[in-house]
Protein backbone atom coordinates (compact mmCIF):
# COMPACT_ATOMS: atom_id res chain seq x y z
CA UNK A 1 0.00 0.00 0.00
CA UNK A 2 1.81 3.09 -1.21
CA UNK A 3 0.74 6.65 -1.68
CA UNK A 4 1.80 9.75 -3.50
CA UNK A 5 3.75 11.88 -1.06
CA UNK A 6 4.46 14.92 -3.17
CA UNK A 7 3.54 16.56 -6.42
CA UNK A 8 5.54 15.20 -9.34
CA UNK A 9 5.35 14.98 -13.09
CA UNK A 10 6.76 13.20 -16.13
CA UNK A 11 6.56 13.40 -19.91
CA UNK A 12 5.97 16.31 -22.25
CA UNK A 13 3.17 17.90 -24.24
CA UNK A 14 4.88 17.00 -27.51
CA UNK A 15 3.10 14.93 -30.12
CA UNK A 16 3.03 11.17 -29.38
CA UNK A 17 3.88 11.84 -25.74
CA UNK A 18 1.85 12.33 -22.58
CA UNK A 19 2.31 14.72 -19.68
CA UNK A 20 1.44 13.19 -16.34
CA UNK A 21 1.05 14.97 -13.00
CA UNK A 22 0.54 13.23 -9.69
CA UNK A 23 -0.22 14.68 -6.27
CA UNK A 24 -1.35 13.45 -2.85
CA UNK A 25 -5.02 12.50 -2.43
CA UNK A 26 -7.09 10.35 -0.07
CA UNK A 27 -8.11 7.91 -2.81
CA UNK A 28 -6.78 6.91 -6.20
CA UNK A 29 -8.27 9.27 -8.76
CA UNK A 30 -7.50 9.38 -12.48
CA UNK A 31 -8.19 12.42 -14.64
CA UNK A 32 -7.66 12.16 -18.38
CA UNK A 33 -7.45 14.72 -21.17
CA UNK A 34 -6.88 13.13 -24.56
CA UNK A 35 -7.36 13.90 -28.23
CA UNK A 36 -8.70 10.35 -28.54
CA UNK A 37 -10.80 10.43 -25.38
CA UNK A 38 -13.97 9.30 -27.13
CA UNK A 39 -12.32 6.28 -28.73
CA UNK A 40 -9.75 5.23 -26.14
CA UNK A 41 -10.61 7.05 -22.92
CA UNK A 42 -11.72 3.97 -20.96
CA UNK A 43 -8.74 1.93 -22.21
CA UNK A 44 -6.28 4.64 -21.22
CA UNK A 45 -7.86 5.03 -17.78
CA UNK A 46 -7.67 1.26 -17.31
CA UNK A 47 -3.99 1.32 -18.29
CA UNK A 48 -3.30 4.13 -15.79
CA UNK A 49 -5.08 2.18 -13.04
CA UNK A 50 -3.12 -0.94 -13.98
CA UNK A 51 0.23 0.87 -13.71
CA UNK A 52 -0.81 2.31 -10.34
CA UNK A 53 -1.71 -1.19 -9.14
CA UNK A 54 1.64 -2.57 -10.35
CA UNK A 55 3.40 0.20 -8.44
CA UNK A 56 1.26 -0.55 -5.38
CA UNK A 57 -0.18 2.96 -5.32
CA UNK A 58 -3.63 3.19 -3.74
CA UNK A 59 -3.75 6.88 -2.87
CA UNK A 60 -3.05 9.79 -5.19
CA UNK A 61 -4.45 11.91 -7.95
CA UNK A 62 -3.13 11.13 -11.42
CA UNK A 63 -3.75 13.64 -14.20
CA UNK A 64 -2.87 12.50 -17.71
CA UNK A 65 -2.70 14.89 -20.67
CA UNK A 66 -2.37 12.63 -23.66
CA UNK A 67 -0.98 13.97 -26.94
CA UNK A 68 -1.73 10.90 -29.00
CA UNK A 69 0.74 8.64 -27.22
CA UNK A 70 0.86 4.90 -27.62
CA UNK A 71 -0.22 2.94 -24.56
CA UNK A 72 3.37 1.88 -23.81
CA UNK A 73 4.34 5.56 -23.69
CA UNK A 74 1.44 6.52 -21.42
CA UNK A 75 2.28 3.62 -19.12
CA UNK A 76 5.93 4.73 -18.98
CA UNK A 77 5.05 8.34 -18.17
CA UNK A 78 2.55 7.31 -15.49
CA UNK A 79 5.04 4.92 -13.89
CA UNK A 80 7.76 7.59 -13.88
CA UNK A 81 5.47 10.20 -12.35
CA UNK A 82 4.24 7.76 -9.69
CA UNK A 83 7.77 6.72 -8.74
CA UNK A 84 8.82 10.35 -8.52
CA UNK A 85 5.75 11.20 -6.44
CA UNK A 86 6.46 8.36 -4.02
CA UNK A 87 10.01 9.50 -3.31
CA UNK A 88 10.67 10.91 0.16
Amino acid sequence: MKEIRKKAWAGTMESSDAYVEVEPAQTLAVELQSVVQAQFGPAIEAAVADVAAQCGVTKGRVKVMDRGALECVIRARVETALLRGMEE
Binding site: E14, S16, D17, L70, C72, V73, A76, R77, T80, R84
Partner: protein
Protein backbone atom coordinates in the same frame (compact mmCIF):
# COMPACT_ATOMS: atom_id res chain seq x y z
CA UNK B 1 24.00 -8.36 -41.34
CA UNK B 2 24.56 -5.16 -39.44
CA UNK B 3 25.72 -2.31 -41.67
CA UNK B 4 23.92 0.68 -40.20
CA UNK B 5 23.19 1.60 -36.58
CA UNK B 6 20.80 4.50 -36.04
CA UNK B 7 20.85 6.49 -32.80
CA UNK B 8 17.41 7.24 -31.33
CA UNK B 9 17.05 9.46 -28.25
CA UNK B 10 15.68 7.36 -25.43
CA UNK B 11 13.24 9.90 -24.02
CA UNK B 12 11.56 11.08 -27.25
CA UNK B 13 8.50 8.96 -28.00
CA UNK B 14 7.69 10.33 -31.45
CA UNK B 15 11.12 9.26 -32.69
CA UNK B 16 11.34 6.01 -30.73
CA UNK B 17 8.04 4.63 -32.01
CA UNK B 18 9.12 4.93 -35.65
CA UNK B 19 12.69 3.77 -35.15
CA UNK B 20 12.23 0.25 -36.43
CA UNK B 21 10.84 1.48 -39.74
CA UNK B 22 13.69 3.75 -40.82
CA UNK B 23 15.72 1.07 -42.60
CA UNK B 24 18.62 0.68 -40.18
CA UNK B 25 19.98 -2.77 -39.47
CA UNK B 26 20.18 -1.82 -35.79
CA UNK B 27 18.78 0.96 -33.64
CA UNK B 28 20.68 2.41 -30.70
CA UNK B 29 18.21 3.45 -28.02
CA UNK B 30 20.18 6.08 -26.20
CA UNK B 31 20.05 6.55 -22.45
CA UNK B 32 23.29 8.53 -22.33
CA UNK B 33 24.05 11.79 -24.14
CA UNK B 34 20.56 12.24 -25.57
CA UNK B 35 18.99 12.25 -22.10
CA UNK B 36 19.46 14.96 -19.47
CA UNK B 37 20.50 13.77 -15.99
CA UNK B 38 17.09 14.55 -14.45
CA UNK B 39 15.29 12.49 -17.09
CA UNK B 40 17.36 9.29 -16.85
CA UNK B 41 14.62 7.54 -14.87
CA UNK B 42 11.95 8.48 -17.42
CA UNK B 43 14.08 7.41 -20.37
CA UNK B 44 14.96 3.97 -19.06
CA UNK B 45 11.29 3.20 -18.30
CA UNK B 46 10.23 4.47 -21.72
CA UNK B 47 12.93 2.47 -23.50
CA UNK B 48 12.01 -0.64 -21.49
CA UNK B 49 8.35 -0.30 -22.49
CA UNK B 50 9.29 0.40 -26.10
CA UNK B 51 11.40 -2.76 -26.36
CA UNK B 52 8.67 -4.82 -24.71
CA UNK B 53 5.84 -3.49 -26.80
CA UNK B 54 6.97 -2.19 -30.18
CA UNK B 55 7.88 -4.39 -33.13
CA UNK B 56 11.65 -4.29 -33.54
CA UNK B 57 11.78 -7.52 -35.54
CA UNK B 58 13.20 -5.64 -38.54
CA UNK B 59 16.35 -4.63 -36.71
CA UNK B 60 18.61 -5.37 -33.81
CA UNK B 61 18.13 -3.44 -30.59
CA UNK B 62 21.17 -1.85 -28.96
CA UNK B 63 20.78 0.17 -25.77
CA UNK B 64 23.46 2.71 -24.94
CA UNK B 65 23.59 2.85 -21.17
CA UNK B 66 25.34 5.48 -19.09
CA UNK B 67 29.04 5.13 -18.45
CA UNK B 68 30.58 3.39 -15.47
CA UNK B 69 31.64 6.69 -13.88
CA UNK B 70 27.98 7.66 -13.37
CA UNK B 71 25.37 6.57 -10.83
CA UNK B 72 23.04 5.45 -13.63
CA UNK B 73 24.54 2.42 -15.37
CA UNK B 74 23.43 -0.27 -12.92
CA UNK B 75 19.84 0.97 -12.86
CA UNK B 76 19.98 1.11 -16.67
CA UNK B 77 20.99 -2.55 -16.83
CA UNK B 78 18.52 -3.62 -14.10
CA UNK B 79 15.68 -2.05 -16.09
CA UNK B 80 16.71 -2.91 -19.64
CA UNK B 81 18.31 -6.37 -19.52
CA UNK B 82 15.04 -8.17 -18.60
CA UNK B 83 13.76 -7.05 -22.05
CA UNK B 84 16.58 -8.96 -23.75
CA UNK B 85 18.08 -6.27 -25.99
CA UNK B 86 20.54 -7.76 -28.47
CA UNK B 87 23.33 -5.49 -27.32
CA UNK B 88 24.38 -3.18 -24.55
CA UNK B 89 26.63 -0.35 -25.69
CA UNK B 90 29.03 0.76 -22.98
CA UNK B 91 30.21 4.35 -23.52
CA UNK B 92 33.62 5.68 -22.57
CA UNK B 93 35.17 2.24 -22.39
CA UNK B 94 38.85 2.89 -21.78
CA UNK B 95 40.27 -0.28 -20.21
CA UNK B 96 39.69 -4.02 -20.20
CA UNK B 97 38.64 -3.62 -16.56
CA UNK B 98 35.65 -1.53 -17.70
CA UNK B 99 34.47 -4.41 -19.87
CA UNK B 100 35.03 -6.93 -17.11
CA UNK B 101 33.07 -4.85 -14.60
CA UNK B 102 30.09 -4.54 -16.93
CA UNK B 103 30.38 -8.18 -18.00
CA UNK B 104 30.31 -9.37 -14.38
CA UNK B 105 27.18 -7.35 -13.70
CA UNK B 106 25.51 -8.66 -16.88
CA UNK B 107 26.47 -12.23 -16.06
CA UNK B 108 24.88 -11.94 -12.62
CA UNK B 109 21.74 -10.37 -14.08
CA UNK B 110 21.41 -13.10 -16.72
CA UNK B 111 21.71 -15.78 -14.02
CA UNK B 112 19.13 -14.02 -11.84
CA UNK B 113 16.71 -13.74 -14.78
CA UNK B 114 17.26 -17.34 -15.91
CA UNK B 115 18.73 -16.25 -19.24
CA UNK B 116 21.38 -18.30 -21.00
CA UNK B 117 24.87 -16.87 -20.49
CA UNK B 118 25.83 -14.24 -23.07
CA UNK B 119 22.20 -13.60 -24.07
CA UNK B 120 23.03 -9.92 -24.18
CA UNK B 121 26.18 -8.96 -26.05
CA UNK B 122 28.44 -6.04 -25.31
CA UNK B 123 29.61 -3.34 -27.69
CA UNK B 124 32.22 -1.09 -26.08
CA UNK B 125 32.13 2.48 -27.33
CA UNK B 126 35.70 3.70 -27.53
CA UNK B 127 35.91 7.48 -27.42
CA UNK B 128 39.05 8.38 -25.51
CA UNK B 129 42.73 8.28 -26.35
CA UNK B 130 43.25 5.65 -23.66
CA UNK B 131 40.44 3.56 -25.10
CA UNK B 132 41.98 3.63 -28.56
CA UNK B 133 45.35 2.58 -27.20
CA UNK B 134 43.66 -0.28 -25.29
CA UNK B 135 41.33 -1.33 -28.12
CA UNK B 136 42.60 -4.91 -28.47
CA UNK B 137 42.58 -5.49 -24.71
CA UNK B 138 39.01 -4.16 -24.60
CA UNK B 139 37.91 -6.35 -27.50
CA UNK B 140 39.32 -9.47 -25.84
CA UNK B 141 38.38 -8.68 -22.23
CA UNK B 142 35.21 -10.82 -22.29
CA UNK B 143 33.51 -13.30 -24.60
CA UNK B 144 30.47 -11.05 -24.49
CA UNK B 145 32.22 -8.41 -26.60
CA UNK B 146 31.07 -8.80 -30.20
CA UNK B 147 31.98 -5.46 -31.70
CA UNK B 148 33.86 -2.23 -31.09
CA UNK B 149 32.45 1.17 -31.89
CA UNK B 150 34.51 4.30 -32.46
CA UNK B 151 33.11 7.58 -31.15
CA UNK B 152 34.97 10.48 -32.70
CA UNK B 153 33.30 13.46 -31.07
CA UNK B 154 34.48 12.75 -27.52
CA UNK B 155 37.72 11.31 -28.85
CA UNK B 156 38.74 14.50 -30.64
CA UNK B 157 37.95 16.50 -27.52
CA UNK B 158 40.23 14.15 -25.61
CA UNK B 159 42.88 14.48 -28.32
CA UNK B 160 42.59 18.27 -28.02
CA UNK B 161 41.96 18.71 -31.72
CA UNK B 162 39.10 19.90 -33.92
CA UNK B 163 36.58 17.48 -35.39
CA UNK B 164 36.53 18.08 -39.14
CA UNK B 165 34.67 16.65 -42.10
CA UNK B 166 37.93 15.49 -43.61
CA UNK B 167 38.49 13.35 -40.48
CA UNK B 168 42.27 13.31 -40.76
CA UNK B 169 42.37 13.76 -36.99
CA UNK B 170 40.87 10.28 -36.50
CA UNK B 171 42.84 8.39 -39.15
CA UNK B 172 45.08 6.73 -36.60
CA UNK B 173 42.18 5.85 -34.32
CA UNK B 174 40.20 4.38 -37.19
CA UNK B 175 43.09 2.22 -38.33
CA UNK B 176 43.94 1.14 -34.82
CA UNK B 177 40.33 0.21 -34.07
CA UNK B 178 39.95 -1.88 -37.22
CA UNK B 179 43.19 -3.76 -36.61
CA UNK B 180 42.34 -4.38 -32.95
CA UNK B 181 38.82 -5.59 -33.75
CA UNK B 182 39.87 -7.84 -36.59
CA UNK B 183 42.71 -9.29 -34.54
CA UNK B 184 40.18 -10.05 -31.81
CA UNK B 185 37.69 -11.50 -34.29
CA UNK B 186 34.92 -8.99 -33.60
CA UNK B 187 33.05 -6.46 -35.74
CA UNK B 188 33.93 -2.78 -35.78
CA UNK B 189 31.73 0.26 -36.37
CA UNK B 190 32.64 3.75 -37.44
CA UNK B 191 31.59 7.02 -35.83
CA UNK B 192 28.56 8.93 -37.17
CA UNK B 193 28.93 11.67 -39.77
CA UNK B 194 27.29 14.57 -38.01
CA UNK B 195 26.26 16.96 -40.83
CA UNK B 196 22.79 15.59 -41.52
CA UNK B 197 22.37 17.80 -44.60
CA UNK B 198 25.57 16.77 -46.38
CA UNK B 199 24.74 13.54 -48.21
CA UNK B 200 27.83 13.76 -50.43
CA UNK B 201 30.14 14.16 -47.44
CA UNK B 202 28.33 11.37 -45.69
CA UNK B 203 28.88 8.96 -48.56
CA UNK B 204 32.57 9.87 -48.85
CA UNK B 205 33.00 9.33 -45.12
CA UNK B 206 31.26 5.96 -45.28
CA UNK B 207 33.38 4.87 -48.25
CA UNK B 208 36.50 5.83 -46.34
CA UNK B 209 35.37 3.72 -43.38
CA UNK B 210 34.55 0.76 -45.58
CA UNK B 211 37.91 1.01 -47.33
CA UNK B 212 39.64 0.83 -43.95
CA UNK B 213 37.81 -2.36 -42.99
CA UNK B 214 34.93 -1.20 -40.82
CA UNK B 215 31.91 -3.52 -40.69
CA UNK B 216 29.47 -0.64 -40.79
CA UNK B 217 28.77 2.83 -39.51
CA UNK B 218 26.51 4.56 -37.04
CA UNK B 219 24.22 7.43 -37.89
CA UNK B 220 22.44 10.16 -35.98
CA UNK B 221 20.03 10.81 -38.87
CA UNK B 222 17.59 8.53 -40.70
CA UNK B 223 18.64 10.37 -43.89
CA UNK B 224 22.03 8.68 -43.72
CA UNK B 225 20.82 5.13 -43.25
CA UNK B 226 20.22 4.33 -46.91
CA UNK B 227 23.65 5.66 -47.86
CA UNK B 228 25.37 3.56 -45.19
CA UNK B 229 23.46 0.42 -46.18
CA UNK B 230 24.38 0.93 -49.83
CA UNK B 231 28.06 1.63 -49.17
CA UNK B 232 28.47 -1.35 -46.85
CA UNK B 233 26.60 -3.79 -49.13
CA UNK B 234 28.44 -5.70 -51.84
CA UNK B 235 27.72 -4.45 -55.36
CA UNK B 236 26.37 -6.63 -58.17
CA UNK B 237 29.81 -6.59 -59.79
CA UNK B 238 31.52 -7.59 -56.54
CA UNK B 239 29.09 -10.48 -55.99
CA UNK B 240 29.43 -11.74 -59.55
CA UNK B 241 33.22 -11.52 -59.36
CA UNK B 242 33.22 -13.41 -56.05
CA UNK B 243 31.27 -16.27 -57.60
CA UNK B 244 33.63 -16.24 -60.61
CA UNK B 245 36.59 -16.56 -58.24
CA UNK B 246 35.13 -19.56 -56.46
CA UNK B 247 34.14 -21.20 -59.76
CA UNK B 248 37.63 -20.67 -61.14
CA UNK B 249 39.14 -22.19 -58.01
CA UNK B 250 36.78 -25.18 -58.25
CA UNK B 251 37.61 -25.69 -61.92
CA UNK B 252 41.33 -25.39 -61.28
CA UNK B 253 41.12 -27.95 -58.51
CA UNK B 254 39.17 -30.34 -60.75
CA UNK B 255 41.82 -29.96 -63.43
CA UNK B 256 44.62 -30.51 -60.94
CA UNK B 257 46.07 -27.02 -61.42
CA UNK B 258 48.26 -25.68 -58.67
CA UNK B 259 47.70 -22.06 -59.68
CA UNK B 260 44.57 -20.46 -61.09
CA UNK B 261 44.11 -17.14 -62.86
CA UNK B 262 41.00 -15.11 -63.60
CA UNK B 263 40.81 -12.11 -65.93
CA UNK B 264 44.57 -12.33 -66.32
CA UNK B 265 45.28 -12.15 -62.61
CA UNK B 266 46.50 -14.90 -60.31
CA UNK B 267 43.96 -15.89 -57.69
CA UNK B 268 45.70 -16.20 -54.37
CA UNK B 269 44.41 -16.99 -50.89
CA UNK B 270 43.48 -13.39 -49.92
CA UNK B 271 41.38 -13.04 -53.08
CA UNK B 272 39.55 -16.26 -52.25
CA UNK B 273 39.03 -15.10 -48.66
CA UNK B 274 37.59 -11.79 -49.86
CA UNK B 275 35.33 -13.61 -52.34
CA UNK B 276 33.96 -15.77 -49.53
CA UNK B 277 33.38 -12.69 -47.37
CA UNK B 278 31.52 -11.00 -50.23
CA UNK B 279 29.30 -14.03 -50.81
CA UNK B 280 28.62 -14.37 -47.09
CA UNK B 281 27.59 -10.71 -46.97
CA UNK B 282 25.40 -11.11 -50.06
CA UNK B 283 23.72 -14.18 -48.61
CA UNK B 284 23.13 -12.38 -45.31
CA UNK B 285 21.32 -9.69 -47.29
CA UNK B 286 19.35 -12.30 -49.25
CA UNK B 287 21.19 -11.57 -52.47
CA UNK B 288 22.30 -14.30 -54.83
CA UNK B 289 24.40 -14.15 -57.97
CA UNK B 290 23.13 -11.41 -60.28
CA UNK B 291 20.56 -10.23 -57.76
CA UNK B 292 22.30 -7.32 -56.09
CA UNK B 293 19.99 -4.41 -55.33
Amino acid sequence: MRRSMLFLPGNTPNILINGAYLGADAVILDLEDAVSPDEKDAARILVRNAIRTLDFSRCEVIVRINSLDTDFWQADLDTIVPCRPHWIMLPKTARSEDVQRCDEYLTALEAKLGFAPLTVRLMPLIETALGVENAFAIATAAKRVGALFLGAEDLTADLQCKRTKASREIEYARGRMVVAARAAGVDVYDTPFTDVNDAEGMEADARCAKALGFTGKASISPRHVEIINRVFSPTLAEIDYAYEVLEAIAQGKAQGKGAVSLRGKMIDAPIVARARQTIAAAEALGLGKGEAK
